[in-house]
Subunit: 336 residues, 4 copies
C-alpha cells in the first residue's frame, strides 16, 4: 500500500504521523518527491485497518498495489510517466532514437558522429566516457574529458545526452554533463548506485541485467523511485541464453509485458541485444512493433575501427535507413 500525504504537510506533522504508525506497528519507507510526500507500507498494516490509515488527517489518499514493486506498478499512477527533457518528451507518442558510438574516442569523432546522428533523425546522443569492460586491459573510456566532448557535440547539434555512470562517486560529476544517466546491465542490481541515483534529479535509464527476470528489473527500478527520482526509463538489452550465433538474445516479450505492468517508458537496445550489426535494423523495427517507446543504438562513423563493440555497431548510413523504416512501423502502430 502507498499512503499519499496531504500536500504541504509540515515536517512536524509528518513526524507525528510516522510515530503513530510505528506505535501501531506499521512499517513504512518515506519517499520525498518534488510535488508530494508519500509512504510505502511494507508488508501488512500492523494493528491498523486500511480505513483507519485513510481517515488520518495527514493522509490525502491511499492506494493498494498487489505487486512486489509498488511505485513502479501500473496501478501506482494514472497514465504513463512522461519524462520531459528540455522540450523533448519520452514516453509519449513520439518514438525516441538514442544513438552514438560505444565509446567517446575523440573530440572530432564525437562531433562528426553527432552531426550524422542528428541528420538521421535521432534526438539523443549516446557515448561512453566511463566504460565497464570485461578485462582490465581493455580501453576503459576517456573519463571526464570524454564527458566534456560528448556534451559539446550534443550542444552544437541540439541533441540530448545519455552516458553511463558506473561508480557512485561519479554521480555528481556525470550529472553535470548528461541529461540521462545510463545504468549498464552489469549494474542493474548495484544497489548503492541505484540509491544514489534515486537522489539525483536527472533521468535514469536502467538496463536489464542479462540474467534478470522482469520482476527483478522492476524491483531494481523501485530502488531509484523510492529515493524520490520519478524519471526512470527501463531498457531491454538482451539476456544470456544458450544461443551461440548471437551475443545475447533480445527478449522482446519484455516489451508488452513491462507495458502491462508499469507506467515507466520502455526502451530497447537492439545493438547489444543481437551483437550483430546485420540484425539491428530488423530488430529495431520489431521492437517498435512490439510497443516500445524508443531505441538505443550503437552507431559508428566506421564500425570496423570502433575501439569497442565493433561487431554490433552500425554505420551512420545504416542508421539513417533504420530510422526511416522505423518511422513507417511507428505510424502503423499509431505512434510517430
Amino acid at each position: 500500500m502507498i499512503i499519499f500525504l496531504k500536500q504541504g504537510i509540515s515536517f512536524q506533522d509528518e513526524k507525528k504521523f510516522r510515530s503513530f504508525l510505528v506505535e501501531r506497528k506499521v512499517e513504512v519507507i518515506s519517499v520525498e518527491r518534488k510535488k508530494q510526500k508519500l509512504l510505502v507500507v511494507i508488508g501488512r498494516f500492523g494493528e491498523l485497518t486500511k480505513r483507519e490509515i485513510n481517515s488520518s488527517p495527514y493522509v490525502e489518499s491511499i492506494l493498494e498495489v498487489d505487486r512486489p514493486y509498488k511505485l513502479a506498478s501500473k496501478s501506482a499512477k494514472q497514465g504513463p510517466t512522461l519524462i520531459k527533457i528540455n522540450g523533448l518528451t519520452i514516453g509519449n507518442k513520439e518514438i525516441i532514437y538514442m544513438a552514438g558510438p560505444c565509446s567517446v574516442e575523440s573530440k572530432s569523432q564525437i562531433r562528426v558522429t553527432a552531426k550524422k546522428i542528428k541528420e538521421s533523425g535521432c534526438q539523443i546522443l549516446r557515448g561512453g566516457a566511463f566504460k565497464p569492460r570485461t578485462a582490465p586491459y581493455d580501453f576503459q573510456g576517456l573519463g571526464k574529458i570524454g564527458l566534456h566532448f560528448l556534451r559539446e557535440a550534443a550542444r552544437e547539434f541540439s541533441l540530448k545526452v545519455i552516458t553511463e555512470v558506473m561508480d557512485v562517486r561519479d554521480v555528481e560529476l556525470v550529472e553535470k554533463y548528461t541529461d540521462i544517466f545510463q545504468v549498464g546491465t552489469r549494474n542493474m542490481q548495484n544497489y548503492p548506485l541505484l540509491r544514489e541515483l534515486g537522489k539525483a534529479r536527472k533521468t535514469v535509464l536502467l538496463k536489464r541485467g542479462m540474467w534478470a527476470t522482469y520482476k527483478e528489473l522492476l524491483l531494481a527500478s523501485e530502488y531509484i523511485l523510492v529515493g524520490g527520482n520519478e524519471n526512470v526509463i527501463l531498457c531491454e538489452r538482451g539476456i544470456r541464453t544458450h544461443v551461440p550465433e548471437t551475443r545475447f538474445t533480445l527478449d522482446l516479450n519484455a516489451v508488452p509485458y513491462l507495458k502491462h505492468e508499469t507506467h515507466l517508458p520502455v526502451i530497447v537496445d537492439p545493438s547489444h541485444g543481437t551483437g550483430r550489426a546485420n540484425l539491428v535494423r530488423a530488430m529495431s523495427r520489431a521492437a517498435i512493433a512490439a510497443g516500445c517507446d524508443g531505441l538505443l543504438i550503437e552507431a559508428h562513423l566506421d564500425p570496423r575501427k570502433s575501439l569497442s563493440d565493433a561487431d554490433q555497431a552500425i554505420s551512420t548510413e545504416e542508421l539513417t535507413k533504420l530510422v526511416k523504416e522505423c518511422k513507417l512501423i511507428a505510424k502503423a502502430v499509431g505512434r510517430q
Copy 2:
C-alpha cells in the same frame, strides 16, 4: 559442395558416375528431387579437383557452400523457396496466417472455429489430432477422427490444413488429411521422423527445438531436404530460458538471422513463444516487422475452456484484431 546432375540422366549413367566418385574417394549423398538429381559431397573432394568434377559429362553444374548445412543454405538456391499449396503461396510477399485450436476437440468445435478463422483473414487452419503431452495422463488428441473433422472443416471454409505428426508410423495417415505436416519442438531432432518426411510429398513445418541453436535447426531441416522434399518451412516458437514470467522466450533474433542464411520460409509462433495470451498480439506485430513470412497462432472459441494450453490461446475476436494490426505492419515492411 553440391553436384547438380544433367537433367534426364539415366539410372545407368548416374550409377557409373557414382562409382567413379567412390573410386576417387569422393563421398556423396544422393538427393532425388522431382525435377533434378543432385549429389551432396561430404567433406573434401577426395582425389579429384573441383574442376575435374565439374567437367564430367554427367554434371550440369557444381555449387560450393561454405556452411555445414548445404541444401538449406542461401547459396544453394536462387531466390526464396516458394511453397505452393492449391493456389496459396508461402514465402512470397503475402503474409500467411495459420490459426486454430491447440487440439481438435469435436466436429462442431473445429467447424465453428474454422469459420471464424476464415473470417479473421487467415488462410490455414491448425489443430492437433495427435498431441505430444508432457504427462501420459493429459488429453492426447482425438487421433484419426480428429484429422477427419479438421479436414472437413477446412474444406467447407476453403482453408488449408496444418497438423502435427509425431510418429513415423503415422506419416502416411496424416498425409492423407493435411496440407502441411507440423513437426513439434520436441521432435526437431527426431531423425527417423525427419527422414520419413523427406520422402513425403507434402510440405513440412519444422519447429525449432526449445534448446536448439540456429545451426541445429538448419541442420535438422537438411535431413528433410536431403530426402528430396524441398518444401520445408522453419518455425521459431520460443526457447527455454531463465525467465519465469513467460512460458518460453520468443527469440525473434532468429528471424533476420535465418533469413540471411536460408532460402526457406520462416514462420513465427507467438502463442508458444510467450505462453501468455495478452502478449500474443504485440509479438505477432513484432514478428512481421522482423521479417517473417507468417504466423502460427493458437486461437480458441472460448480459451478458458480449451482442453490444452488454455493460458496462451487467444479468442477468435482477438485474432481478428491481430490480423488487422499485422496487415498494417506488413504494409509498412513492403509485404501484404
Copy 3:
C-alpha cells in the same frame, strides 16, 4: 491415486470394475505389470470417495500420490527399484560403471575396447550402432552389424550391453542385442518411442532432455512405467546453458533432487555433461559423492581418432584411474 487390483483378478472382473468406475466418472489408465495389475486414477475420483474405491472387492489397496508423476513417485513404491540383469543389480549399494566408445566402429575396435573396459572394473559396455547426429552428413553408426559386434564383444568379456534406440521400428531389433535400451537426450519426449519401450521387457535408461526440468524427466519416465515396464533408469547428462567453455552444464543438483522424488536409479553421464575429457574424472567423483547409482562414460582406445565426440572421450587408461578414484568416493558415502 493408484489402485492396486487383487492379485490374480480375472479379466472378466477387471472389466466389470472398470465399467463401474467409468459409470461413476472415475477416469483411469490401466497398467499391466508382470506381477500385478494397477489403475492410475486421472484427476479426482469422479462421484466416488476414496473409501468407496478402497472397499471394492476387486481392490487390494490404494495409494495416494501428491505428484504429477504417479508411478515414478517415491511414494508409489517401498524402497528403491532394483534392476536385475543376469546377476548384476542396478540401484543397490554397488556403483555401476557403463563405459565404451560413442560409436561401434569395427569388430576389433569394440572387442579390444571391451577387454579394457572389463579390466578397468566396469560392468556394462556402451556403444552406439544407431547414432543421432546433428547433420545428415555425419557418421550415422554401423546399424545392425554394429549391434552384433557389440553383443559379441560383451559376451566374450562378461559385460552387459547398453545401446541407443532412436526409431520405434527398431525396438524389436535392438532388444535382441541389448540388455539396456538407451533413450538419448533428443528423444526424452519422443512419446511413441517411450510408449513402445513401455511394452518392452528390457531395461530402459532415459536420458534427460538438455532442456528438460526434473518434473518433465520424471513425467517422461512415467510414459514407460505406465506401459508396464518397471525397469527404468534416469540419467543426468547435462543441460544447455549460456556457459561456452563446456559443451553442456552437468546439473548434479538433479541427483539428490531425483533421489528425493523417485525410487528409480539415477545414473550420471559426465562425458556429455562436460564435453571435455579433462573434466570427466573430477565430475565422476562428484556425481558419486552426490549420490548417484552409476556412471555412463565415453572411453575410446585412442580418443583423438574417435569417429564421433572425440573431445569428450577419455582413454581406457584414464578410465582405469577414474574407476579407482570413484571406488574411494563410493566407500566414503557408504557404497561399494
Copy 4:
C-alpha cells in the same frame, strides 16, 4: 606477457624503464605487489622483441601467458596461491568450511551461531551486515553494528570472519572487521568495487556472477590482482538456468575447469547453488569430490525463522553432519 622487475628497483629506474617502453610503443599496466613490482603487457610488444625486453637491466624475468587473464592464469605462478589468515591457510590440503547465517540478526543470534559453527568443525564465520536485496523493502542488514557483533562472536570462538561489501565507500569500514571481503554475485562485474579491493590488504572472495562465463569470472579476478592484492578466492555459487525446481543450478564443472586454469583457491556455495536446504549436504560432498578448496554454507539456528533466504539455510545440527561427511570425502581425494 608479464614483466617481473628486478627486486628493489628504484622508483627512478622503474620510471625510466616505463618511459623507454612507451617510446617503443609497448603498452603496460603496472602492478605493485608487496614483494615485487611487475608490468603486464597489453597486446603485442610494440617495436620490441621479447628478447630485447628480457635483456633490459631492470627486468628480472618475463613470462608469456596465452590467456586473456594474465595474473590469474595458472602459468603466472608456480604452485597454488596459499592464503594465510592468522594461522589458517586456504588453498592448501585442508578443506575450509565457512558457515553462518545469511544475515547477522542480533548479538545473541550470531554469538550462539558462532559457537555451534565452531563445534561443527568450521573455521570461518559468515554473516551479512550489508545485504544486497532484490527489493528495497526487504531487510537490508544491520550495517556497522552487525559487523561489530560478527567480529566479537568470531573472536570469542576463534573463528575467522567473512562478510560482504557492496559499496566502494564501505571498503575501509568493512576491512576493520573482516578477514575476508565477500563480493556477491551481483557485483562480480562492479569494476569500481573490484579496483578498490585491489588496493585493500585483506583477502577477497569473489562470487561468480549468476550469468558469467568462467572467462568472465577469471577476468573479474584480474581487476583485483592488477591492483596488487594477490589474495583472491573464486567462488562458484550457481547460475541462472531454465530449471525451476532449484533456485540456481550449481555448476560444479566450474571447479575442475578453474583448477586447470588458475592458481587461485576455489570455493563452492551449495546453499545459493541449490536454494534448497535438502540438497545442500549432497552437493557439499560433490563439491569436495570435484576438487574445491572449501565450502561457504548458510546455516541458521532455526532456519524457518531466518530473516532472509530461509529456504536454503540448514540447521547447525545438519551442518555438523555435513562436515563429518565432507571429511570422509576429503580423505578419499587426498585432502583433509
